[in-house]
């Protein structure tokens, strides 16, 4: 089970199987623009239309990734491609 969506300059991928272990839902509370919410099953989900998120709804602050890494279950990664530096 995966949640994937595009941001202005990259992509966010969440491994929801990994989220089962998470008790903090740190990614959701870290998001300053409320792009993420918890769905009825208790998994992170988008609270806005994907097109809106891509257009700049997600401000790419990277907080969700880092909070997931330090307080969550290492389920969320943000891919920001950089040509020549893969």
């Amino acid at each position: 089970m995966k949640l994937r969506f595009e941001t202005f300059a990259g992509e966010i991928r969440v491994n929801l199987d990994q989220c089962k272990k998470c008790k903090t839902h740190a990614c959701v509370s870290a998001c300053p623009v409320n792009v993420l919410k918890l769905d009825e099953r208790g998994f992170p989900a988008l609270s806005k239309e994907p097109s809106e998120v891509k257009k700049g709804g997600c401000i790419e602050c990277l907080a969700c990734e880092q909070e997931c890494l330090s307080k969550g279950s290492h389920a969320l990664e943000i891919l920001l491609p950089l040509l020549g530096y893969e």
């Binding site: 941001t7 202005f8 300059a9 990259g10 401000i59 790419e60 602050c61 990277l62 907080a63 990734e65 880092q66 890494l69 330090s70 943000i78 920001l80 950089l82 040509l83 020549g84 530096y85």
Partner: protein, 415 residues
């Protein structure tokens, strides 16, 4: 950066891409790097084609740089031959495959800078297909021109009046004027120093089409034109890393500012030690800090300023480019008392640091808006890293430079 003249030449296919974006009709076609690509393009076009060698010099036709093919299966061989030739000592960069035009008449349209009147001049002639100097010599009565008043700009009626002088009552006059107006807009928009359509073709089907494109851009303005998509370091007169960073900074992501310059080329860094990566928030702060580093004898490999509230994703990309320079012995990050939310800045830094995990020392001075949050983010992640020191507004640039020097010396001692 000023070596090699003040102009940058565009290949014909780049010029035509620019023309197309400015509503100047060009023949249907695409650029190909290989015979196979060329054949694919010819198949897509499905009609007789012209294969035009792409070089940054004139005299291509006479040197055999333009060939025609009636059928797509002839194209690969034709292009293979074209790729082998040299034109005035230049290797062929690629080939433009485009539909073969049925030309009924050839015109000339161009904008050049006239040093005598210190202004661009728009030229039009009903005798195209040869060099404008030759037209001027042989048929001076067939050339008309008008100086462009840069402050006032040009209107379509200026061009109609100009064209009318030679083509009174011509049915194509209006269309031609419209195309030349597109040329003026392209010239103006991309800071060109020269733009020529020669020939500007009137086809047997009654269309006005730019059969060729000669474009020169002011080198000093090149940095403002990522849309021209000039990707080679030769024409940018820079290094690969600098160019990549510049494209990252100047693509369609306009959030915040990002200035980057590779001061020491990568091949030099690969052979020499003694440089550190430099990253600042604020132009003034970067000047103060570079002076401070210079005073303690530290040399920087690059210049970078990311300010104006860029997103963390942009800080991350800048930071990653700096951190991944070969053989650097330190990473120096410093902010002015910044108004941009520094917790966002810190997030970008942290992502790059965790990914690269540098062995060399890292010094970060962050002061300003949301500095406490920024320090907390950095401290939380610094645990994952070695040799990261974090400072705030209690220290100045000179302190940071001295401390960086100590850290670099310790690092040298252990490596």
């Amino acid at each position: 950066m000023s070596e090699g003249g003040s102009m940058v030449n565009l290949y014909e296919y780049e010029g035509k891409r620019l023309f197309r974006a400015n509503n100047i009709p060009v023949p249907a076609g695409e650029f190909a790097k290989t015979p196979e690509e060329a054949e694919e393009i010819a198949k897509k076009l499905g009609r007789p084609i012209a294969a035009k060698a792409q070089v940054l010099t004139g005299g291509r036709g006479k040197a055999g740089g333009i060939k025609f093919a009636e059928r797509p299966d002839e194209v690969a061989r034709t292009v293979e031959e074209l790729m082998k030739i040299q034109i005035k000592g230049q290797k062929v960069h690629g080939v433009l495959i485009e539909e073969k035009l049925n030309i009924a008449k050839e015109y000339y349209a161009g904008i050049i800078v006239d040093d005598a009147i210190k202004a661009p001049v728009l030229l039009f002639s009903t005798y195209g297909g040869m060099e404008i100097e030759n037209i001027a010599e042989k048929y001076p009565e067939k050339i008309v021109s008008i100086p462009i008043k840069v402050l006032e700009g040009m209107r379509i009626y200026h061009i109609r009046n100009l064209v009318r002088k030679l083509e009174k009552g011509s049915k194509e006059m209006m269309k031609t004027a419209q195309v030349i107006f597109g040329l003026y807009e392209a010239y103006r928009h991309c800071d060109a120093t020269l733009m020529e359509i020669n020939p500007l073709a009137l086809t047997e089907e009654g269309k006005i089409v730019a059969a060729d494109a000669r474009v020169q851009i002011d080198y000093s303005a090149l940095a403002r034109h990522a849309e021209l998509d000039i990707r080679d370091i030769e024409r940018h007169r820079t290094t690969e890393r600098s160019l990549r960073a510049w494209y990252e900074a100047n693509s369609d992501d306009y959030r915040g500012t990002w200035y980057y310059m590779q001061l020491i080329p990568e091949d030099v860094l690969a052979k020499e030690y003694g440089y550190i990566g430099f990253h600042a928030v604020g132009g003034g702060e970067s000047m103060l800090s570079m002076d401070a580093l210079n005073r303690v004898g530290l040399k920087i490999a690059n210049y970078c300023d990311t300010s104006g509230s860029p997103p963390a994703s942009k800080i991350y990309r800048a930071s990653k480019i700096i951190l991944s320079q070969p053989n650097i012995e330190g990473y120096f990050f410093i902010s002015c008392i910044a108004s941009q939310p520094l917790d966002i800045t810190a997030r970008g830094l942290v992502k790059a640091l965790i990914e690269i995990r540098p062995k060399f020392p890292v010094l970060v001075r962050i002061a300003g808006n949301r500095e406490k949050e920024a320090h907390e983010i950095l401290r939380l992640s610094a645990g994952l890293l070695r040799r990261v020191e974090i400072y705030g507004r209690e220290v100045d640039e000179d302190f940071c430079a001295r401390r960086m020097k100590e850290l670099v010396q310790e690092f040298r001692g252990t490596n």
